[in-house]
């Protein structure tokens, strides 16, 4: 058996481990579904209360914000890696990953698999609840295209989680930073309202990260929201972010682990 195949099996083993642990907490999925229902209920009535310029009907704003809520779930999943890593450090299981032939870097990357698939499922669940309970109208003809776009978006988002994981390896803290990052990206990423409402300099900042084009593209494909920069432009932007950030974040994680090994703090938590 080749090394690559054994490595692939190890990746799947990490994902299976995370799925098993997730399923061992039986109320988690129900809790997550209820959270989605509450968020959607809130914004469903807000959309009927407030008439926002740029949205022809309350339903169009609701569609806009449902995709935003789904993306917040995706953001949380991507940024959850640092917290998962911290739990591994506390439990002493990270030592074992580090000392395995599979190694720490590949283990951390493998730890992203389950949160990514989970975020896919969560986004689908949020949209499903939006459709079934609140009458959200999806553009079914372009919905299938959203799957590869979301996959590309996840590749562009994931490095941010890996970078926070690297930070956790070095300073043993990451969750505070991730909470700030998610809040900031929710605003500049236009998850709840259009970026055009923000001050000019913030709008400029919004172009420097992949969340805005990803959310815009997915809104366009899922609920028909007009796209500012064109479909190809948004996809190319996501691909560029992924191409640059994925290898950069892996390199930084690798350096962070080596740095902590040299200092001897890799075993601290």
């Amino acid at each position: 058996m080749s090394d690559a195949l054994a490595g692939a099996h190890a990746f799947l083993a990490v994902m299976r481990r995370d799925l098993t642990i997730y399923l061992s907490y039986r109320t988690r999925l129900v809790s997550q579904a209820l959270t989605s229902v509450f968020s959607l209920t809130l914004f469903f009535y807000v959309s009927r209360l407030v008439h926002v310029s740029g949205f022809r009907t309350p339903g169009s704003y609701f569609g806009f914000v449902v995709v935003g809520i789904a993306m917040v779930g995706v953001l949380y999943s991507c940024f959850s890696i640092s917290e998962l890593l911290r739990q591994e450090l506390i439990a002493g299981t990270f030592d074992r990953l580090l000392l395995s032939p599979f190694g720490a870097v590949r283990s951390v990357l493998a730890m992203t698999l389950f949160p990514l698939l989970y975020s896919f499922a969560l986004a689908a669940l949020t949209l499903g609840i939006g459709c079934v309970v609140f009458g959200l109208r999806l553009h079914w003809s372009t919905v299938p295209l959203s799957v590869p776009v979301l996959a590309l978006a996840l590749l562009a988002f994931l490095p941010f989680g890996v970078l926070f994981a690297a930070l956790t390896v070095v300073i043993k803290q990451g969750s505070v930073g991730t909470a700030w990052a998610i809040a900031l990206l929710s605003i500049v990423g236009g998850l709840y309202f259009p970026v055009s409402l923000l001050p000019g300099w913030v709008q400029t900042g919004a172009t420097l990260q992949p969340f805005t084009p990803a959310t815009g593209e997915l809104r366009h494909l899922l609920v028909g929201t007009p796209l500012g920069e064109g479909e190809l432009g948004a996809v190319l932007k996501l691909a560029a972010f992924a191409a640059v950030l994925v290898p950069a974040s892996i390199l930084i994680l690798s350096r962070a682990i080596r740095f902590a090994q040299r200092r001897g703090t890799i075993i601290e938590y």
Partner: protein, 247 residues
């Protein structure tokens, strides 16, 4: 000893699944574990915890290193395992270095840390062992056989489907030992391995150690005191002021 070239062995981490990891051809000039001039200082204003320490483990031998709490036993094991790096000196397994030949090194070495950490509380014994076998890059067709062997070796059959957070400390220690010996390592590093073990568990541990020695591997066993152990150590050392002195 293998007839393969060192380069070929370095490129093939686990050529013989389920069997002991293939030994690099450089073994004619190297020992299972050779530690030379190892130094580690935790704080600039404190004495080094390891100060130019030398230690060589010969094939088929078990070595005990004792010393008071904080003497540096765990630091020594962590460096030998490749978990942390020394300030100076080297730790080599069959001539391989943990930094330069990471995958190969980790295939040959297995480390049991002190305490009861390193387990996933929500996984069953079997799932835990399967996971460990997979990230040890054990080929898929061999996983089941190796896991069953580890379950039997540490008498975990009745506990196989039990979650770790529902097990006693001694049972967890047996599982940790099963994980340590599961990939048939060449060099086994044990940090206070008798913690929480009953007489039966200790006997299982000694049997596993015997198997490593029989296949010409080596074991480094660290604990504060060694007088209560019914183990025929080939060498006994005390770690004092960063160096080893004969016990």
């Amino acid at each position: 000893m293998s007839a393969q070239s060192p380069q070929a062995l370095l490129a093939t981490p686990s050529a013989a699944p389920g069997a002991p990891a293939p030994r690099p051809a450089v073994s004619t000039v190297a020992a299972p574990l050779a530690i030379k001039g190892l130094s580690k200082r935790w704080h600039a204003d404190q004495a080094p915890v390891l100060d130019g320490l030398d230690l060589t483990l010969e094939p088929g031998t078990i070595t005990w290193v004792g010393g008071r709490n904080g003497a540096g036993k765990t630091t020594l094991l962590r460096i030998a395992a490749g978990l942390i790096e020394p300030d100076a000196g080297t730790a080599e397994v069959w001539g391989l270095n943990a930094s330069r030949h990471r995958v190969r090194y980790q295939t040959l070495v297995s480390f049991l840390p002190a305490g009861d950490r390193g387990l996933y509380a929500r996984l069953t014994v079997r799932r835990q062992l399967e996971f460990w076998a997979r990230i040890s890059m054990v080929p898929r067709p061999q996983v089941r056989q190796i896991v069953e062997r580890a379950i039997d070796a540490f008498d975990l059959r009745e506990l196989a489907e039990r979650r770790v957070d529902r097990m006693s400390m001694g049972q967890r220690q047996r599982l940790r030992l099963a994980m340590t010996f599961l990939p048939s390592p060449e060099v086994v590093l044990l940090d206070e391995p008798l913690t929480s073990l009953d007489a039966e568990g200790a006997a299982l541990l000694l049997h596993a150690v015997d198997e490593v020695l029989t296949r010409e591997g080596a074991v480094l066993w660290c604990s504060p005191t060694g007088e209560h152990l019914d183990v025929a150590f080939d060498a006994r050392w005390h770690l004092q002021q960063g160096r080893l002195v004969r016990a």
